[in-house]
Symmetry: C2
Subunit: 375 residues, 2 copies
């Protein structure tokens, strides 16, 4: 990736990440399209209306349904879901560890039961790369093991070292497969694990950097650990990662945390919060969170966020959204998701603009002051 600007005080940087489906302005937030759809939005809403340059889709979910071979036959995930921009697919590791009730980890990979019908499946470092190649993902992720929180140092080390061995295998498999492929594949990112232990995180990062991967992710965050610890884990490894490679903090974060991750050198993030919270009635605004079911919005003619320019805020009132929410209408989720995603994308644009105009430290201060005000 091209680094275009770096903050004079923090580790924040703005750049351009080149993929087979377009160049992506970073830092970037990736909406989550678990089953090849961002819940409630069309691909046109996402690409044209919101200007989303890259989506995340879930390797695990799409592997189980409709299946990677079907997606391959349909011409890959972009064509299957009619998505013109870039796609990152995760490793499947996190879902195997969070959704599958029964699973067995071996040196070769992980054996698990489908959460849909109980069928037995195996993911190996090689097979998950193969699955993601079938998808035609722009960015693939290597299989990793996601330990729960809390976990002992010894277990975390054992797990991290297995993730490391898997990363080497995935990396080698990817290189062999891609060199034989006609169309240019994207890149394979490797994932730094090590739970909440800085020494393990560093050991993992150092070993992964030797593989000269296309990018590095920091995984195993937001699994229940205290929020400051998540940021500490990023701090622990970021300086070890090569400057010219993108860094991706997986599964984060809350709106006010986005700038904190960027301040620690993160270029890419993803999170279900904007879409999931939207559906549950929690709307993010430039003045904090708004819980739409509250009676005070019953006849409130104002938009969700008076400073927001999304379709929802330009066209509909809090009163109407509250009515739709209470009536259980699908349009509520459609409009709320659109707003919350726009809010995240706007924050990322503000952050990028601040870095490029050399005002990121001031921006970060204002975000922190607003958080302190909000208690």
């Amino acid at each position: 990736m091209e680094v275009l600007a770096e903050c004079r005080l923090t580790r924040a940087r703005a750049g351009l990440l080149h993929t087979p489906h377009g160049s992506i302005a970073t830092p970037v937030f990736m909406p989550v399209g678990t089953q090849a759809t961002v819940k409630g939005l069309t691909q046109r809403d996402l690409a044209e209306d919101l200007g989303v340059p890259i989506l995340l889709a879930n390797t695990y979910h799409l592997y189980l349904r409709p299946g990677h071979e079907l997606i391959r036959r349909m011409g890959g995930l972009h064509r299957f879901m009619s998505w013109p921009n870039a796609i990152l697919t995760d490793s499947g590791g996190f879902q195997v560890f969070s959704l599958s009730g029964l699973r067995k980890i071996t040196e070769d990979g992980v054996i698990f039961h489908s959460h849909l019908n109980g069928d037995l499946h195996t993911f190996t470092p090689q097979s998950t790369v193969e699955v993601q190649l079938a998808y035609g993902s722009d960015i693939l992720m290597a299989l990793d093991e996601c330990p729960e929180f809390p976990v002992s140092h010894e277990s975390a080390r054992e797990s991290m070292r297995r993730t490391l061995r898997w990363a080497r295998q995935a990396h080698q498999y990817y290189i062999d497969r891609v060199s034989s492929e006609a169309p240019p594949a994207g890149g394979l990112f490797l994932i730094v694990q090590g739970s909440t232990y800085a020494d393990l995180r560093r050991e993992c990062a150092q070993a992964l950097v030797e593989l000269n991967a296309d990018g590095y992710a920091i995984g195993g965050l937001s699994v229940g650990e205290p929020r400051p610890l998540s940021l500490n884990m990023v701090e622990a490894v970021e300086a070890l990662l090569p400057r010219e490679k993108p860094r991706y903090a997986m599964g984060v974060g809350m709106p006010a945390e986005l700038a904190e991750y960027v301040a620690r050198g993160v270029d890419m993030m993803d999170c279900v919060l904007p879409s999931r919270n939207a559906r549950n009635g929690y709307l993010f605004t430039s003045e904090g969170r708004l819980i739409i079911k509250h009676a005070r919005y019953k006849d409130d003619p104002r938009p969700v966020d008076e400073r927001c320019e999304c379709y929802t805020c330009r066209s509909y009132s809090r009163a109407y959204l509250r009515h739709l929410f209470l009536a259980g209408e699908m349009l509520y989720a459609i409009l709320a998701t659109r707003h919350n995603l726009r809010r995240y994308l706007d924050i990322m644009r503000e952050i990028r603009h601040a870095i490029l105009s050399d005002t990121f430290p001031e921006y970060l201060r204002s975000v922190r002051a607003m958080c302190a005000d909000a208690g």
Copy 2:
């Protein structure tokens, strides 16, 4: 309404219906927006993408939630739901009789329990006009009684005559109220009832015509009677209705029936079928019905209807829609509803074009031939 063309063989006509929110090309199909939203579509999708000139909303549902006084305070239904085109609200009668478990009909009106929380409410001919005036509807409907099917001739007559008395009261109340209103209201339509008895239907129509209403609806159709009977009931009364007034067949019909109603002099129709069937996996195409969950569509790269130009058909495959349907994804309902509504609107455009170009008899023959082929 202006009648622009009449079929040389059938009773079909094409015209323009003028409302405070635009002139509507007839014959017209009105999508149903029960709770001030057409399930799964934004108002922009409806107005700009599909070109819907008039929506139907349910007096009963909106009266219970969020309430007509709230909608009045919010500036009326158009402003509340951000809808630029015309709105027709039904009388509430049908919902009282189909949704409310407990209800009592008196000479004055109907007392019923809310299906939401059991609260007791009363609808009278006057109150339902008042509720619809609060909504600011372009077209209001008078309170009617919807008898079940089958019902004895005696009960049907008693019920029809009550509907007639209610219609006179609603009509008088509307005239008194509108003459005192500053902004021009739309019109109040009266509803012909009489179950499946042609003599009662005629008696009802003749009496209603004397009131010189803004339009006439044929109600109580599609309540379980054999389909030919519904068409017979339209035939029984249509010639009695004034030529220059719009005629509205309530709650119909299947795609192949639309031309049949038009052939019998109907200008307006509404039905939940395109949207409800879409959600349930039934898609209407120019070649008949398509059940999206069928395994044969698993890897079918074709659009739902190769001759359709809707966003869904231009962008997505049957395979992708089937995946979304089986995965329970909201985007399935969004895309399917958009397609089915487009199909209905396309049929209405074909019908109108046929009438205006004097080819409606041939068009009707081709529709009938296709139905016969489909068995």
